[in-house]
Amino acid sequence: MIIAEEKPIKEILAMIEGYDKIIVAGCKGCVTVCSTGGEKEVGILASALRLARQTQGKSLETREITLERQCDTEYFEPLREIIDSYPAVLSLACGAGIQFLAEKFRKIPILPAVNTQFIGVTEEQGVWTERCQACGNCVLDRTGGICPVSRCSKSLFNGPCGGSKNGKCEIDPQVECGWQLIYDRMKELGQLEKLEEPMPIKDWSTSRDGGPRKRVREDLKI
């Protein structure tokens, strides 16, 4: 799923400065699962903002709403019904959801309440870690199911570099060396010989480097 984190409340307050009412819009997709932008967090953020305004001697009216998904127009109707009465929307969805709202509701600003971080997993309760950078050309079959692009701090394809020590990455003793993980996994699988050949130079055009990406399934189009 897509992992996001709350923006600092000060930053959000500066963003909504000048508005006396606002829609706080959550999303029931990824940001709900990672406890950043679901119904519960919408409630918490809205009351925190109202409280902060109160301490400034000002008021803020908040309208809380949580859409099924902000990345799909199919679920935009509940927002469409109320949006004309408000001067701005504060969205707790990922960057894709925020942008999609902004594209479809063009009269008022759609503001980000979260920072979208990465595609990751719930490693344990309250801990999410990155697994994929959506490079568009998966090599997991060659690396024991561990991604060198997202797990190695330098995205090396022929690691580990000289900074791998005791399984940790040189950038931080808390960060695991992606290539140590790959090595250990390939050893477990009895496939170490696969790491003997240099990995070819990567075609990054399937990644962000090729420009904004698009996928079309003609058979699904109406």
């Binding site: 090396l156 022929n158 580990p160 900074g163 020590k165 990995m199 130079i201 990567k202």
Partner: protein, 308 residues
């Protein structure tokens, strides 16, 4: 001859080579380069010029390499994958060759987190092994990566690094073999303090026959103090300093620490010369260039051989 560089000629001629290292200034002051270079002159066969090492912005390795050539010295230009994509690197390789640079050391590069611009975006379009492949393709196939023909191929002597002390230990020689497959001509290792471990590494190198395919230069760095020894052991990733070395530095006391550091360095070089498959040393006297002459002389490696 692949490049005809002094370094290549000496290695091909069977000489035990000595390479040095010069860290460019954090600015445009040529005098800093000249001062360090003069201390290395006559004591080493080729001088590594670091490329923004530890991700600290310095004078470019191409420019400093060109300055060394002007002074009559031979550079070994380091190039890291952190800061440039394949377009910029190939362009710089053309330019470097045009300026007379004949040796290139292909490195991944320290992560920018360690430097003075930790908020920078890194590149790593290629990694060090892929950079070796790139330079080899340019040199031997006269083509850039995209496949276009080159007008004047850069005939570079291709080097890379190896760190026998990083983990996983048993994979280190495999990674070295990958560099050989990619087309590397010579290797310079990380600073060695744990000689026993290095000997184990070299045995693995010989078992794979790599010492007959590539030239191995063993890295040495004289210790200045017990503090430096401890720092390297504890803080520098991929560096091992045995307790006995730290103990020797401690026993020497503050006043004689540098002298003991030099003693250890000379002893190491003498032992390294005995290891089959070691073709030379890479002496990195970091900000201690005036120690180089004494070390090389005491190790019995002066005068450096003349070549045509």
């Amino acid at each position: 001859m692949k490049s005809g560089s002094r370094l290549e000629k000496l290695l091909a001629g069977g000489h035990f080579v000595v390479t040095g290292e010069l860290g460019p200034p954090k600015g445009a002051d040529v005098a800093v380069v000249e001062k360090k270079a003069n201390l290395l002159k006559g004591n080493v066969d080729s001088i590594n010029v670091t490329d923004n090492q530890t991700a600290i912005v310095r004078m470019s390795s191409i420019a400093v390499s060109a300055l060394l050539i002007r002074m009559g010295l031979e550079p070994n230009m380091q190039m890291v994958c952190r800061d440039r994509n394949r377009i910029a690197m190939q362009s710089d390789i053309f330019g470097a060759y045009a300026l007379g640079i004949r040796n290139i050391l292909c490195l991944s590069g320290d992560h920018q987190k360690f430097g003075n611009h930790p908020t920078a975006k890194n590149v790593f379009d290629l990694d060090s092994i892929q950079l070796i492949q790139t330079v080899k393709k340019m040199r031997d196939e006269h083509k850039v990566l995209g496949g276009d023909e080159i007008e004047g191929a850069p005939q570079m002597f291709i080097g890379a690094a190896a760190n026998p002390f990083a983990d996983p230990f048993e994979y280190r020689v495999v990674r070295l073999a990958k560099k050989a497959k990619a087309g590397v001509d010579f290797i310079q290792t990380q600073c060695i303090y744990d000689m026993d471990k290095f000997e184990r590494f070299m045995k693995m190198v010989r078992d794979r026959g790599l010492h007959e395919k590539i030239y191995m230069l063993a890295g040495v760095t004289p210790l200045k103090s017990v503090g430096m020894a401890k720092y390297m052991k504890e803080k520098v990733a991929g560096m091992e300093v045995p307790d006995e070395i730290i103990e020797r530095m401690r026993k020497a006391g503050k006043e004689k620490a540098r002298e003991e550091g030099l003693n250890i360095c000379v002893e190491q070089i003498q032992r390294l010369r005995q290891i089959p498959g070691v073709h030379g040393i890479h002496l990195m006297a970091i900000e201690w260039e005036d120690a180089v002459h004494g070390i090389v002389e005491r190790a019995g490696l002066l005068p450096r051989p003349e070549i045509n």
